[in-house]
Symmetry: C2
Amino acid sequence: MADLRGGDLSRLRQLNTLTAIRALRGAGPLTLSALAERTGLSRPSMKEVTDELMALGWVEEVPPSPGTMGRPARRYRFRADSGYLVGVDIGGHNIRAAVSDLDGRILAETRRPVAPDAPLDERLSAIEQAVSGCLTLSHTAISDVWTISAGTIGVIDVEGHVVYSAAVPAWRDLDLAGKLREMFPCQVLIENDSRLAAMAETRRGVAKGAKDVVFLHVGRRMGAGLIIGGKVHRGFGAAAGEISMLEEARWFDAPEHLQRCASVPPGTPPEDAAGHTLAAARDGDPVAIEAVERYVDDLAVGTAAMVLILDPQMVVLGGGFSRSADVLLDRLRDRLERRCMRLPEVRASALGDECVVAGAIDYAVEHLDEQLFTPDAGPLPVTR
Amino acid sequence: MADLRGGDLSRLRQLNTLTAIRALRGAGPLTLSALAERTGLSRPSMKEVTDELMALGWVEEVPPSPGTMGRPARRYRFRADSGYLVGVDIGGHNIRAAVSDLDGRILAETRRPVAPDAPLDERLSAIEQAVSGCLTLSHTAISDVWTISAGTIGVIDVEGHVVYSAAVPAWRDLDLAGKLREMFPCQVLIENDSRLAAMAETRRGVAKGAKDVVFLHVGRRMGAGLIIGGKVHRGFGAAAGEISMLEEARWFDAPEHLQRCASVPPGTPPEDAAGHTLAAARDGDPVAIEAVERYVDDLAVGTAAMVLILDPQMVVLGGGFSRSADVLLDRLRDRLERRCMRLPEVRASALGDECVVAGAIDYAVEHLDEQLFTPDAGPLPVTR
């Protein structure tokens, strides 16, 4: 038998602890034997690990079901309710917020409208209202919230500063993470909204389990989020996915085909115009169909650029316009087939307008996992 | 102390073995103490691991330097000469081959010209001649070659079939891996040439250590190789990097600006035309400079698409035209700065025409490492 010194051993034990939390997070209550089998650890090692996790508040014993005969085996579960996470989608026209448990299960959601040109204070106040609204709905105290994770348009640097935002003028050069930290007494994460939505698709959406995904965040603005090797691709300066900046990719003005279509009734509010065109195309209006064709022509160029460069497993059409996937998807597929080496699977998001808020929560869960699972992160935090 | 059963232990020991090989491969001869320090293992564990590796032929003891006083500490080294690797670059106009040791150190190289429209047999025969040439130069027997790793133009599937090749007609739908296996009695690897060249840049070139790199494989043909998260990005169908297929990206015909420039003297062989234009631009010829400007205009569009999508740390200009980096690099940087969110570092390859053959060898080294380091790959092979 090899000689095992302290360093080797504590590394191994930490590995076992993390393996145990992962197994419990992914399943319902498990007995020691079931846990040992899933993790490949011995039963005595497993017992030691669960004792440690219970002492820290991460794991609890589940009472045996009433009526169980004989001496029932102890069962353990991850305490997903030992803390809460809040996801926020800071959009141009709406602020959405949702609260979830530590497994990312959403408990309540709220939405607050906000004008795209609203001054900074008004927008921050709408964020505060949306968050407190969903906390009230779910009977959660802000002191039980571990992380607030927010997605917003624009390029966000690693410190949570908004480096660039074409759509929300009040947002430029803002220390958004700092502002939110002043408002909420917990950890704050900020990420680009399209990237969060892409993450949600691979965690709970149509791209679940896919390793390489191009997510199209299409609505009145155009964005893209990339999943590469199962991970959100941020880029060296957190500016990945900005294909709409390339004039030749024809993304930036693409929604104008739908917005300015002659079939939109006069007096339609600008936020409803594209929806009118898409609905009219569905009903067979030739003018609207022509606008949709031109829109998809443009959408396909930037999309083909991403497909040819990355050769993804799947392209997901998400964001506001994904509600009209029946009008858009076959047209997009058709153009990609003509333009690309290999046509990836092309699917519509099923998350709709919740994609960013769900992704923000998934990002908070991932961040929590990283804190738990980083080998040198030190001892696990003690929960309440 | 935690209870450690057989499964846990053998996993840990295997981990230690791999850690030891890695440490030895990356360094000169090391003493047991030095190895233990680098790997974080205890000295007795380390001794057990080196004994096992010596028995397998992977590691050998180095004789103590003559004149060492007292009893010298034993030193160990990885036996890079326990086998050999061959890299092949199957280009349109040339076949290059190089032989290296297991660390990827190149021992000899050869080149054979071949016509782009040569029939398949002629091309395969040129490959055989190039390989046997470099084996003869390095006094290596083919029976000591573990792996032949070849890079070629076109889209290569995971089985080593050429799925698509615009440049070499005889190549299409060819089971290239199968053909090479008939010719050589060893393991055969096939990969897209631009991808191999990109790998070489991160292993031994200007992008050494960079995690996210866009490699421009520019010459009479245009290709791209992507490094994402430190790994070559192949794509779901091994078709990543094919931006030249997108008409709007303006890559496909870009070299024509240089090939057909009016400053090229009549009667210049086609393979030398672009070089003439680049040299004339360097000497201040306004017609050639105009051609170079138009060439870089086009090169910048496809490159900007990749930079905006991926936000890489570095763009490397490689391939045949990289010899004219002094004429091209500032012009490219200038255009990318105007078009992109964030200008990555833009550098010229220093590997020149050797980039593919070096990358082919690096790929063989990586493949060997994977065989060594895959936890479930079974026992290590016994070397001669």
